[in-house]
């Protein structure tokens, strides 16, 4: 296959990392010839992570950064809850879970990132409310931790994938619909 020549501007993302010694100046950009990516012998894969694109989640006001910061903080609390549960400390486990879900609602203000994220945020919020003060089981805590970890890495979530995530939570006994769903059922479902 004939090599297709094109021009592209290549920006080395490593220069934006804190540890990189070089300054982030425009002059470090360069142009190269671009070849099809299936040419393994010539292609070098540049792995781009969300951290590269959006910087350290600990600061910054960009919506994605805010969402990832909250998600990471929630994840830490849920992992602390799992740890406390494993040490037979139900009070500690419940306290950590409550801390996670105290900061969770703000994520809904970041819903413009993706509809899937919005849907997942709501479902997990309702799961917490429906627990009505009961302790989450170890299986439920783990599923919540896995779900949050997934959202940290995948904030641009399509709706179908969000539905799968909610189904997984449902499968371990978490109710991902609001308590008002029963009232709505009474109104919308005609006498059967």
């Amino acid at each position: 296959m004939a090599e297709q020549q094109a021009k592209a501007e290549v920006i080395d993302l490593s220069r934006f990392r804190e540890t990189h010694p070089q300054s982030s100046s425009i002059s470090s950009q360069r142009t190269v010839s671009v070849v099809p990516v299936d040419r393994d012998d010539q292609h070098t894969l540049l792995q781009t992570t969300l951290d590269d694109l959006y910087g350290d989640a600990r600061d910054g006001s960009d919506l994605v950064q805010v969402a990832r910061r909250i998600l990471l903080e929630c994840e830490q609390h849920i992992l602390a809850a799992i740890d406390a549960a494993s040490k037979d400390d139900p009070l500690g486990a419940d306290l950590e879970a409550s801390r996670a879900f105290a900061i969770w609602p703000e994520l809904f203000l970041c819903r413009s990132i993706s509809e899937g994220l919005g849907a997942a945020v709501l479902g997990i919020h309702y799961a917490y409310l429906n627990a009505v003060g009961d302790l989450f089981s170890n299986k439920q805590l783990q599923q919540l931790a896995d779900s949050v970890a997934f959202l940290v890495q995948n904030p641009f979530l399509n709706f179908d994938r969000a539905l799968d995530l909610l189904d997984d939570l449902d499968d371990c006994g978490l109710k991902v619909d609001p308590p008002e769903a029963s009232a709505l059922g009474e109104i919308l479902v005609q006498d059967q």
Binding site: L122, H125, L184
Partner: protein, 280 residues
Amino acid sequence: MKYLSKTNRVFLDTTILVDAVLKSGVEGDNARKALAKYKERLLPQYAIKEFKAGALRNYIWLHTKSATLRTYDEIMTALTRMWARPSVSGTAWRAIRDFEHSISSRLPSDYTTRYPGQTLGEIQRAEIELWLRTLILRAWRKRTKIGTIVRPLTCYSEVDIKFTKNGIFEDEPIKCDVQDCCLRAPFVKRSVDIGKLLANFDKLPRKKETGRRKEALDHLHRTPNRPLSEKQCKALGDAVFVLQCPSDATLMTTNVADHGPLADAIGIITLAPASIIANS
């Protein structure tokens, strides 16, 4: 367990489909627990047709309102105007209007400063829209998971609901649009059973729906060669489940009052989820 059928098979009607996939409270829990008691769960396509044209369509209506109106208050006004009726409790109306568990009631106090442009009404509207979209799509997906789909309707196209780029659902077709329903052919062969059902109609609750059902069954019994209209097919309702239920299966329904006398006429066991759970 004497309340389970000989073959541990259950045949579901629309009420069970609705409860199992759409409801999250006690009714939903009961339906799902009862279903779990059976090894073989049979879901007739007639139930899916009724579900799509009935309960699911009602939720899709509300979702369309949530996608097209501006605030939660406007959505509630539309809901009240369309659905207010004596059988709905004041508690239910208050619960949905107040929406105490809305995520909007737990936002940080300074959110208006840090997230300008997001008003409370719009946040609640977005919440109900997203949640309804989730509920509708999950319910539609779940219909294939609660049982094996049986008794296909040759005149009905079970087309997936679609979420469009305009942000609303398309749910057509919900009708068959045929002159002669596909159920006429198999049902006219059951003339003896239809006669037995008709003989038990005096045991049914007196309501308009019962009258329409009797007329449709009469039409099949007395004039088996005349076309069965879509309207008559719809009127058959509960009688369809009774006639289609295998003789060795239990017919599960929340509406035993309407199904029971018809089912008894031809020896079909009818049970509600609560009975199955209580007696197993």
